[in-house]
């Protein structure tokens, strides 16, 4: 008895979004696939999932010692940090303008411009620029970043339901890409994409961040939300066809498993191995349900995820 045909014929396709232009030595395209992750037998996986390395504009005081050990001195200087991240295999630099947070330095638009300029000069890679996650400061520094990097096609974020207009307008005016972040819910993700699209920004300039939890801390919710988003998109729902970015490093490295080795059960095993795997396994689980861009923190998990993606693309 012949095995029945199980290939799906999807009506939709994921939108391709390109980061980088102008003085960037490299551009990075994400999305564009016409099937579920790496099912090369039934569709095209147009672009491999890309890896961004997170770089902060202020030396983080709450990062795991393992990360500090891995990056060393460059953590105090976003330009050097970005250069080193490029050397260690990043496709994209995710620059966090964390110092703009009112409690973490309260720096302003001028500082943001200088930092963005410095980092653009230090690396040939495309950039994501994140605000500090506080509404007014996000608006202030992301507008500055979008203007400063005009012509470079960076991604700026996060645009959220409660605060997207100014950020989207800045992306629109300066030909940048915007990251639309929604809290782990298919309908909220859809709604935000529609609201942002209604401002007139083309679809090839929106990336969505459906939010993830780390392994052991809700990753299964993201797994299922992302799978539902992806199936709807492939089924033809044009409001969910944006490629997906996930801040895996941020989530994985604030888990107890990654942060610390104090008073943890012996069964948790070697700290460094556990912490790196916590990030790498969170990343690969999300790649399994449709992640197109992963923001990571540790050089070793970057290397592991990169090699895994190489292997998964080898079937193309």
């Amino acid at each position: 008895m012949a095995v029945p045909e199980v290939k799906e014929k999807y009506a939709g396709r994921i939108q391709e979004v390109t980061l980088g232009a102008g003085s960037r030595g490299k551009t990075v395209a994400i999305g564009g696939e016409s099937t579920l992750p790496f099912l090369h037998f039934e569709g095209t996986v147009a672009n491999r999932p890309a890896i961004a390395i997170e770089v902060s504009d202020r030396e983080p005081d709450d990062w795991s010692p393992l990360l500090k050990e891995a990056w060393g001195d460059v953590m105090g200087d976003p330009a050097k940090w970005a250069a080193k991240a490029e050397e260690l295999g990043a496709d994209v630099i995710a620059l966090s303008l964390d110092s703009a947070h009112p409690e973490r330095g309260n720096t302003g638009a001028d500082d943001a411009r200088k930092t963005v300029r410095k980092v653009l000069e230090a690396t040939t890679l495309p950039l994501i620029v994140y605000g500090p996650g506080q509404k007014d400061k996000d608006n202030e520094v992301l507008v500055a970043a979008a203007e400063e990097a005009k012509g470079e096609r960076i991604a700026i974020g996060n645009a959220e339901e409660k605060n997207y207009r100014t950020i989207v307008a800045a992306a629109l005016a300066n030909d940048q890409v915007v990251i639309a972040k929604s809290p782990m819910d298919v309908n909220l993700a859809k709604q935000l994409n529609v609201l942002i699209g209604d401002m007139g920004i083309p679809k090839d300039r929106i990336i969505m961040d459906p939010t993830t939890g780390a392994l052991g801390y809700g990753v299964e919710y993201s797994y299922s939300v992302m799978e539902r988003v992806r199936l709807a998109a492939l089924g033809g729902d044009a409001t969910l066809q944006q490629p997906m970015v996930l801040t895996v490093g941020y989530e994985a490295w604030r888990t107890k498993e990654a942060r610390t080795n104090d008073e943890v059960p012996q069964e948790w095993g070697d700290w460094a191995q556990r912490a790196i795997l916590w990030e790498a396994n969170t990343a690969i689980t999300l790649v399994n349900t449709g992640a197109n861009l992963l923001v990571l923190r540790h050089p070793q998990s970057v290397a592991l995820v990169r090699k895994a993606i190489d292997r998964l693309m080898a079937g193309a």
């Binding site: 008895m1 095993g269 895994a308």
Partner: protein, 447 residues
């Protein structure tokens, strides 16, 4: 694939004799379709109808049991392709491969490592399931299988010589081992052995699903019932593509010949323990029934057990944490007291943010029947009364030297009522989202 009432009605006697206790054959058919009646209630049912209903009632992926007693492992019986459609049912078994080349001491150490590993997460004890033992000579194999079985582990017998396999089967007794004779083995020839010892049997075919289906058909014809599939993954992309095709064929097309759990050996496609862990993670996410590891680092095993627990949580019934008082970072009597609900994700978000802030706090988890803060509040399961009850039953007042409690910002409206329920307490309103907790705690500490 389930049959409709009309499909069932067509093969019933259609005499409306009422002897089954239902007024008409059509009504009886509808009950059968809804699984509210048994076909045996009809005294006149034909063999044709029986055969049809038996086939339809069988699960699309056969349930396979390995091991016995406390460590009995069941895999298969899955009913959906995508987790959100309902839930994944039986978590994949995790095994350690123990090569024949190991010294007796190293073998014993391997068995002990697997048998001795348990770790607690969200109130559940997690552990690996067994060992896959490679056989060389019959005697040595039998001794090793017995050693593992005596420790209570489920066993997979990795051997190709029927005499060696039989020695292993005999040593495994009634613990339902799985025979794995290698990807190219003639599994039909081993079917009688599997039957004799109530063992399950692996059927393999390298990368070719037609050949795999033909091989399972042959094994079934030779008397084997409980099969496991080795689709012969030659790379990581295969490790996603082959299980995806098998799962779809079994569930969407009800293709019985491929309706069995899948076994995978991620170590043979990896260069390091970390890579093996990542491929195993992909296989846990999508469709493996049995995963045989070549390496057993505690950190690897822990991360895989956590992932397995996550993915196999029923999305409709999220894990709850036990209500009670949780200590985050060894709090002192003066540390702040926060309250939230017992939905696991809510708990983890809040606890994670407190931990992430590096500060100490008491976290009071009220019983909201597993609902998140706003949902529980809307359903009346997280109100002033419930919070006051949690304060009293946990005896938190004796552990702290202040009388302040921090409410989630989303239910700020409860503060008045809560002050009435807890006379003498000061009710503070925390941030709406857990992400705001670090700043809030910092602010609180500075006051």
């Amino acid at each position: 694939m389930a049959l409709s009432g009309i499909q069932i009605y067509k093969v019933l006697p259609q005499t409306n004799c009422k002897e089954c206790g239902v007024a008409t054959c059509l009504a009886f058919a509808m009950k059968l379709a809804a699984r509210q009646a048994e076909l045996s209630a009809c005294p006149y049912v034909s063999d044709e109808a029986k055969a049809m209903l038996d086939t339809a009632a069988a699960p699309p992926i056969r349930l396979i049991t390995l091991g016995a007693g406390d460590r009995k492992l069941e895999v298969g019986n899955e009913t959906v392709v995508y987790r959100h459609e309902k839930t994944f049912v039986h978590q994949p078994g995790l095994f350690l491969r123990l090569p024949a080349s190991l010294s007796d001491a190293d073998f014993a150490a391997g068995v002990d490592k697997v048998a001795g590993y348990t770790v607690e997460r969200v109130g559940q004890m997690l552990r690996t399931d067994g060992v896959a033992i490679e056989g060389a000579s019959a005697d040595a194999f039998a001794a090793r299988v017995k050693q593992a079985v005596d420790k209570g582990l489920a066993v997979i017998l990795l051997a190709s010589d029927p005499a060696v396999i039989e020695a292993g089967l005999a040593a495994a007794g009634n613990t339902k081992p799985l025979i794995y004779a290698g990807a190219g083995a003639d599994s039909a020839a081993l079917a009688p052995l599997a039957k004799k010892y109530s063992a399950s049997l692996t059927v393999g075919a390298a990368g070719d699903l037609e050949a795999l289906a033909a091989a399972t058909e042959k094994a079934v014809a030779a008397g084997a019932e409980d099969l496991v599939l080795d689709p012969g993954m030659t790379g990581w992309a295969d490790a996603l593509a082959l299980p995806a095709q098998l799962r779809r064929a079994a569930i969407k097309k009800n293709f019985k010949q491929l309706g069995y759990p899948i076994i995978a050996f991620p170590g043979s496609l990896s260069d390091s323990a970390e890579e093996e862990a990542m491929l195993a993670s992909l296989l846990i996410g999508k469709y493996a029934g049995l995963i045989v590891l070549d390496r057993f680092d505690q950190a690897v095993v822990y991360s895989l057990l956590a992932l397995r627990q996550n993915i196999y949580t029923d999305p409709q019934k999220p894990i709850q944490v036990s209500p009670g008082l949780y200590e985050i970072g060894e709090p002192e009597p003066g540390s702040p007291l926060l309250v939230t609900t017992n939905f696991s994700l809510t708990y983890f978000s809040v606890a994670g943010e407190v931990e992430g802030s590096g500060r100490k706090a008491w976290l009071l988890v009220a019983d909201s029947e597993g609902l998140s803060v706003l949902t529980a509040w809307a359903a009346g399961k997280f109100d002033a009364e419930a919070i006051a009850k949690a304060v009293k039953t946990t005896g938190v007042a004796e552990k702290i030297n202040h009388k302040s409690i921090v409410l989630p910002g989303a239910v700020a409206g409860l503060s008045g009522e809560l002050e009435e329920e807890l006379p003498g307490w000061k009710v503070l309103v925390g941030p709406r989202e857990s992400i705001g907790i670090p700043s809030y705690l910092k602010l609180l500490a500075s006051q």
